[in-house]
């Protein structure tokens, strides 16, 4: 069986499994909506410039935490009833397994972003055009952070204290991605941010490629 067929099987059944566990699928979305509503109704009024910056912070913090919820539970379903162990005994390509997980996570991450931006749009009707400009840098951040999260999730899946271990490993490594993503958004929102959006976007794309390649290689070592 080639890696492409294995990818298709793992990806399709991964989605089916998520759909069957609807609470898993919708928890990050509902979490995002709750946090954004909380921000909206507890923040004071500022000048337009500062409000745009606050909005970027709100969107990124919410997205980042929602993504962490998704990532931390990447192998939760596989770990129940020994599925993870049995997959290890099959001749599965680690790349196919990793890519299937990556595609699942990115889809869920994009779902969170779209729902979040639609919600922000409704709450800030005057900023509609600006809000949708944030889609690309945030989606790139999801692309960059997903491989990292999958690797760390696999690494900590059977570790004691994984609820603590995962964020300890994840936060420092995700910081450059978050800085790049917020810099692009800031550049879109204001004129006086440091650097140009294309440079930061290039950095985000570069980090996505580097993280994906490194994590793909390390994942193969890990599951072997």
């Amino acid at each position: 069986m080639n890696a492409v067929s294995q990818f298709k099987t793992l990806f399709t059944f991964g989605l089916k499994n998520e759909w069957r566990h609807k609470e898993r699928m919708f928890t990050p979305v509902l979490f995002s909506l709750a946090v954004i509503l909380l921000f909206k109704f507890t923040s004071a009024s500022f000048s337009e410039d500062i409000e745009a910056k606050i909005m970027i912070g709100q969107i990124l913090v919410t997205c980042f935490l929602a993504l962490q919820i998704i990532l931390q539970r990447t192998f939760e379903l596989d770990d129940t009833d020994g599925v993870f162990t049995l997959i290890q005994t099959y001749r599965i390509s680690p790349s196919a397994w990793f890519c299937a997980k990556f595609a699942n996570i990115v889809l869920l991450g994009l779902l969170v972003i779209v729902v979040l931006l639609v919600c922000m749009n409704v709450l800030n009707p005057g900023q509609s055009e600006l809000i949708w400009m944030f889609f690309v840098p945030i989606a790139l951040a999801v692309l960059a952070l997903s491989p990292l999260g999958i690797l760390l999730s696999a690494l900590t899946a059977q570790a004691n204290g994984r609820q603590i271990l995962f964020p300890i490993l994840y936060f420092p490594l995700s910081t450059p991605v978050l800085i790049s993503s917020s810099s692009v958004c800031l550049q879109y929102a204001t004129d006086n941010a440091v650097g140009s959006p294309s440079a930061w976007l290039g950095l985000l794309v570069g980090m996505s490629i580097i993280f994906f390649t490194l994590c793909l290689l390390l994942f193969a070592e890990l599951v072997d």
Binding site: M1, S5, Q6, T9, L10, F13, K16, N17, R20, H21, L77, T80, D81, G82, V83, T85, L86, I87, Q88, T89, Y90, R91, I92, D224
Partner: protein, 201 residues
Amino acid sequence: MLQVKDLSFGYAAKPLFQNLTFEVDKKQICHIVGNNGVGKSTLLALIAKLLTPSSGSITLDLQETNRYPIEFLSAEHNAHLLAQNIHNNLEFWRQLSGLPSHPELLQSILKRWQLSTSSLADSLPVHKFSTGMKRRLALARVCYTERPVWLLDEPTFGLDRQAQDCLHDAIASHLNSGGCVLLVTHQINWLKNLPLKEVNL
């Protein structure tokens, strides 16, 4: 078919077995015998390549590879996608084995294991099954993936008498098709008339 040569393994300071050597031919059942804690399940995990031996080799048809086509049934887990129905569970593992869907075979296996009720197979998630039904589904998976080597660790756990007879028939037909079985079980009365080879640990 399957050759275990000079195999040694232990946890920390406690060696479980040393220089273990045996062979299992096609159409043969290898019954691994020993008291609790001597390493029967560990031996199966080593053959499944879930653990790495301290020394020695395990080869299938004289080829030592990282993975070979075995079907492993653990004593503690059935490896079910618990939120999915019977059909999706069996198809998932068959497709991962690299085989296309085979509806006729699926139906006959479901019938053999008394899992063919349409409402059961199509809608009920596996987590709602009883212990015995989960075990029967796991054994149905072992049959449906059509792999030549079966590693069965306490396969009769939770099975009633009728299901034990089904397992006897399933093993007999697997042996007839040229497969082999490595078996860990403390109940041996259901194994009557099958070609057993004992390995004592």
